[in-house]
Every structure is written in structure tokens, then in C-alpha cells.
């Protein structure tokens, strides 16, 4: 029942907003439906904590500790983003960058995007997971191209083609898994249902599964932004409206990685070797290293943080690749804190670039003098994402690094160098934006900065103290991942 609400509210809201999205209440309606989704997700979470994992709707959907935590996170960030987007979109409209029909498209597609991601997270069927991921690509393509400028069209086309090709590989991987499972479960045994696959994973054909995993990690990895398949990500982040950058970074990348992790569990069971883990570690390490060296060359603030997202996705992929209770725990924690921090940063960046009228870093100066809240939001958010204690990112990075030192010492210098280079590159740029003589102008509408500080407060709390039930929840999910 709760799950039906979680999925139905954004879907209905999307249809509703497609009809009445031009009305001035559309942005409020967007917030209300996101809030309802969040409440439904909270109820679902409470029920799962109380009753344990459950399978619903003829086994097509299921909820366990791993995905309920991501559902809750997705609903939370979706809600705060909708709160942020109200004043942001008003300013964009005021500056004449968006017409009313475009705003209608934005609101409707935002809710549809939330719906596809929640379906992808909650589904038990690997085929539906693929369909939902593809649908998420389609909705975000429309969102990235919202401004219809040459640059945004180019970014959207690149995103469309690259992710289309990538996700086609993932479909082939899914077909291979179905093929291997059908031999064990029979044509009517629900050979695409994850819960069924999980039971028989020991008897699945190892050669087919390892081949399938290569296709799956390339496919869903394109969507996660793993190097060398990351090319679409900085462009899509830079050219779309900022709320879209926030949900792309904070949510979509997580969901794509979740798909990889789900498949890894099956492959690990079938192979009894560390093949899937090694592949993920390799991709992860490459993905941490390469963007670190691109960061210093970036001139556009949103591209800068796009590259930073790639780096963090690499770190999480590496953590899940290492496996084991500590590394998986750290990976899940890092997923949470990264998505909270990065979306908070994008909220601040969005308003900062609106005040400056540009996204070029060199032209944004003196944020602290003109608007202390935006300036401090950006500054603290950047410190948090760079892994400064006492924020939660430090905790998870510390855990990932110590596990690496213990089991894979050769990887540690690579990780530390990349994190150091990223720090040097990003901190200097952000500092120059926050301090100095202001070049920025005040905004015509009051910005909603509560989401920024709520997110950063949560990240700070996770750095200092993880509530026991949350820790237990992470532990259960980490045990599932293995």
C-alpha cells in the first residue's frame, strides 16, 4: 500500500502538472506532491523496519534494507530539490530564460523522473529495472535540453546517444542473465525476478554470468559516469537547469550504481571468485583518478562539480568492489553523504550563478559579501565534499581508505593522490568565488536556502554520530551486498 503510494503520487502529479503546469500554482503543486512522496516513503521505511523485507504486486516489486534506504534518500532529495526549484525557476522566468510552456514541461518531467527512479529502485524484475532506467534517461534528456540553447541541445544529444548505447549493452547483459536463469528456473519460474535469482544464484552458469556482468557494468556504468564512459556527465550537468543537475548528481548516479550492485550480488554467488569485485575496483580506481586531473582545468562551476561527482562515484564503485562489511557500509554511507552534499552544493551554485549571471568561475566573486548564506553554503558544502572532518564524507572516505590499506595497499597511494589533487584544484576555485570584491547582484526573488543547510546539517550529523537504527540498517544492507 505504502509502496503503491510512493510510485503513484509522482506519476499522477506528473500527469496533473502536464495539464495545469502553466498555472502559477504549479511550483507549489510540485512541492506538495514531492512532500507526499516523501511521507509515503517514510511510512514504507517504518513498515520495513518493523516487518522486514517484503514482496509485493505479484512479486514484481520488493523492498529490502538495501533499496528502502535508497527510496527514502531519493524521496528526501526530491522534496528538497522541489523546494529549491521554486524560487530558482521564478528567477529564471524573471530573467526570461524560460517561457511558461517550458516551465510546464519542467515540472511534469521532474515528477516523471522521480517516478521512474523510484520504480527502478523498487522493482524486483531486472527487465523492468532496465525499462525504468531507460525511461529516466528519456525524461532527463528533455530536462537537460530545457533551455533549447545550442550548448544544451548538444549536451542533451550527447547524453542521449551515449547513454542509449550504454543502456543497450545493459539490455544484452540482462538477456544473458535471463538466459542463464531460465535454464535453472524454467520459462515460468520468474527468471528475471531478483528474489528468485538470488535463491538459485549458486547454480547459475558462471561463464554466462561473468560475460553478462561485463555488459551490465559497461551499460549501467555509462549512466553512473564511470571513466572512460563519463563524457556525457559534465556537459549534462552544466547545461541543464540547476535543480536537474542536483537530482542527476544526487540521485540518478546512485540509482545506476544500485543496478550494478544488484547484479554484482548475483554474479558473486555464481562465480565464487572476486571477478565482479575486481572489475568494479578497476573501473572505480580509474574513475577516481582521471577526473581529479580534469578538475583544475574547469572554467565552468557546474562542470567542476560534475567532474567531482564522477570522482565520488568512482570512490563508491571502488568501495563496493572491495566488498566486505566495512567497505560496503562505507560505500552506502558515501552514497548518502555524497548525494546530500552534492545536491546542497548545486543549490548554492545555482543561486550564485544566477546572481552573477554566468557560470564562469572567474566572473563570480565576493559571494560572502553580497549574500552570506549562499557564500557559506557553497564554502561549507565544498569543504564537506572535499572530505574535511567533521563532515560525513570524511567518515566514509576514512573507512574506504583504511579498508584499502588493509586489503589492497597498492591502491592507497592512488586514492590519496587523487583526493589531494582534487582538494587543491577545487578549494582554490571556490575560495576565489566566496571572497573578494563582489561582482554579483542580488536576486529578484528570495532564494530558498533551507534545503542547503538541512542537507549540510544531516551530513554533519552523519560525520559525528550515526543514529543506531540507521547504522543497523546500513549493516543489513551491507550484508546483502556482501
Amino acid at each position: 500500500m505504502e509502496l503503491a503510494l510512493v510510485l503513484a503520487v509522482p506519476f499522477v502529479a506528473s500527469l496533473l502538472l502536464a495539464i495545469v503546469g502553466h498555472h502559477h500554482i504549479a511550483d507549489r503543486l510540485n512541492i506538495v506532491s514531492s512532500l507526499l512522496t516523501l511521507l509515503a516513503a517514510a511510512l514504507l521505511t517504518i513498515r520495513v523496519i518493523g516487518e522486514g523485507p517484503m514482496v509485493l504486486f505479484q512479486e514484481q516489486f520488493f523492498v529490502d534494507p538495501l533499496n528502502v534506504f535508497l527510496i527514502a534518500l531519493t524521496a528526501l532529495v526530491g522534496f528538497t530539490t522541489s523546494v529549491f526549484s521554486r524560487p530558482y525557476m521564478r528567477v529564471e522566468h524573471h530573467h526570461g530564460r524560460l517561457s511558461v510552456p517550458r516551465l510546464r514541461l519542467y515540472h511534469s518531467m521532474f515528477q516523471m523522473f522521480m517516478c521512474t527512479m523510484l520504480v527502478a529502485l523498487a522493482t524486483n524484475n531486472l527487465g523492468i529495472l532496465w525499462v525504468a532506467m531507460e525511461a529516466a534517461t528519456l525524461t532527463t534528456v528533455l530536462l537537460v535540453a530545457l533551455y533549447r540553447t545550442p550548448a544544451s541541445l548538444e549536451a542533451a544529444w550527447k547524453y542521449f546517444i551515449l547513454c542509449g548505447v550504454g543502456i543497450a549493452q545493459a539490455l544484452f547483459g540482462t538477456i544473458l542473465i535471463y538466459f542463464a536463469a531460465e535454464r535453472v528456473l524454467g520459462p515460468l519460474g520468474g527468471a528475471l525476478l531478483w528474489t528468485h535469482l538470488d535463491v538459485v544464484k549458486m547454480s547459475l552458469e558462471p561463464t554466462v554470468l561473468s560475460l553478462a556482468f561485463v555488459f551490465l557494468i559497461v551499460g549501467y556504468g555509462t549512466k553512473t559516469g564511470l571513466v572512460p564512459l563519463h563524457n556525457w556527465l559534465p556537459d549534462a550537468h552544466a547545461e541543464g537547469p540547476t535543480p536537474v543537475s542536483a537530482v542527476l548528481s544526487g540521485l540518478l548516479l546512485n540509482v545506476a550504481l544500485y543496478a550494478v550492485v544488484r547484479c554484482k550480488v548475483l554474479v558473486d554467488g555464481a562465480l565464487e571468485s572476486h571477478f565482479a569485485g575486481n572489475l568494479m575496483m578497476g573501473f572505480g580506481l580509474l574513475t577516481v583518478t582521471v577526473p581529479a586531473f580534469y578538475l583544475s582545468r574547469q572554467k565552468d562551476i557546474k562542470r567542476l562539480f560534475g567532474f567531482s561527482s564522477i570522482e565520488h562515484m568512482g570512490l563508491i564503485t571502488f568501495a563496493f568492489g572491495m566488498g566486505g562489511p566495512v567497505a560496503s557500509f562505507a560505500g552506502l554511507l558515501h552514497m548518502t553523504v555524497h548525494s546530500l552534499t552534492k545536491s546542497a552544493i548545486f543549490f548554492a551554485v545555482g543561486h550564485a550563478s544566477q546572481m552573477a549571471g554566468t557560470q564562469i568561475i572567474a566572473d563570480i566573486k565576493g559571494l560572502l559579501k553580497r549574500s552570506p548564506t549562499i557564500g557559506w553554503g557553497l564554502m561549507l558544502g565544498s569543504l564537506a565534499i572535499l572530505g574535511m572532518p567533521p563532515f560525513g564524507v570524511f567518515t566514509s572516505e576514512f573507512m574506504i581508505l583504511t579498508t584499502a590499506i588493509k586489503h589492497y595497499p597498492w591502491a592507497t597511494p592512488v586514492l590519496l593522490t587523487s583526493l589531494g589533487v582534487a582538494f587543491a584544484a577545487m578549494f582554490g576555485k571556490v575560495q576565489a568565488m566566496a571572497f573578494g570584491d563582489p561582482t554579483v547582484q542580488p536576486l529578484p526573488h528570495n532564494p530558498a536556502l533551507l534545503p542547503v543547510f538541512v542537507h549540510l546539517g544531516l551530513v554533519l550529523m552523519l560525520g559525528l554520530w550515526i543514529p543506531p537504527y540507521l547504522a543497523e540498517w546500513y549493516r543489513q544492507a551491507a550484508r546483502l551486498i556482501g
Binding site: 528519456l138 544484452f172 538477456i175
Partner: protein, 226 residues
Amino acid sequence: MNLSILHAVPLAGQVINLCAAIMLLLGFAMLAQRRILTLINLFMMQGAVLAVSTAIVALTTQQHHLLWSAGLTLILKVILLPYILHRLIRRLSVKWDIETLLNIPTTMLAGIALVVIAFNVAQPISQLSGTIMRATIGIALACVLLAFLMMITRSKAVPQVIAFLAMENGLFFAATSATYGMPMVVELGIALDVLVGMVIFGVFFFQIREQFDSLDIRHMERFKER
């Protein structure tokens, strides 16, 4: 499996292998085709061959749900998508020649290499498969890779999209040859995604041409040097 099916395997199997060979041939033809209009017709023929082979499998193995997916292929790939594409190129008036980035003989040689790779990769799967189409899994993968090659060698928007759709053809063929098709709900979902994607592509063509005065993706080079 009853006796009559066993009896029917040789002939049906041969027809299916013939279909697979035609699919591969069409894949190569698309790779080398310079004219947009012919490209759409080739894509339509590939869809038709796919529908026919799926229908034959459905009839010889009594897998009746495959008849539905054959029908779905027929409607989507042979009628609806080519119709949309024809309309699009008429309204965009782009029936001109296509130039490829690499020259055609090199592309064809690369295509042959991909087919060899595909057959090697598919060998372990073919040995495990129990379907009458198991020999065609390699061909299906080869079709996917050829479409992939076509996508990266083309610089115009419409051929890129046709390559994308051809890749989907190959994947669909792979699903039928390895496992007698995916569950119906998944196939419907995929078909819906492809259709919606096509509509968005169509909208994009107009936007791109409006902004760049051309459908040549090479005009979009702003991000390349960064």
C-alpha cells in the same frame, strides 16, 4: 517437446539460419549505405526479417507468446518507426548523401573483425543454449556490434538514430535466439521506451537544425577541446 516439433526442426532451423544470415547482410548493407532513404528501407527490411524469424520460432516451438512479440516487431519496426522516419526526412528535406568518417572499405573490414569477435564471445553461450536458434546468437551479437560501429562512424543525426534502432533489432534477435524472448511485460516496456525515444529524437532533429542550421553532429564541437 513432442515428436512433431523434433521432426520440424531441420527445415525450420534452416529457414531461421537463413533469416539470421540476411539480418547480418542487412547490417553490413546499412554500414555501407550512403543514402538516408535507402538506409530507412534497409532498416525496415531488417525489421521484417526479424518479425518473420520470430514468427517461425513461435510456430515451430509452440511458444505462443512469441507470436505477440513478432506482431509487436511488425507494427513497431516495419510500419510505425519507418513511417515516422520517412515523414521526418520529408519534412526536414534531408534526402541527401551521407558521408562516413572512415572510408567504406576500412569500415567494412572493421565490421568483419567485429563479427569474428562476436562469434568468439557467443560460442560458450551457444553451447549451453537449448533453443533451435542457438547458432544465431553469434549473429545477433554481431548485428549489435555492427550497429554500434555504424553509430560511431556516422556524423549525421538521422543515421545515428537508425543505428540506435538497428542495435535494438540485434538485441531483440539475441533475446529470441537465446531464450525464446523476454517476458511480455519487459518486451512491452522496451517497445514503449523505443517509441517514446523516437518521438523525442524527432523533436530534437528540428531543434538541432534550427540551432545549428544542419543535422551534422560535427557542427557540435564546442565541448571537444575541453
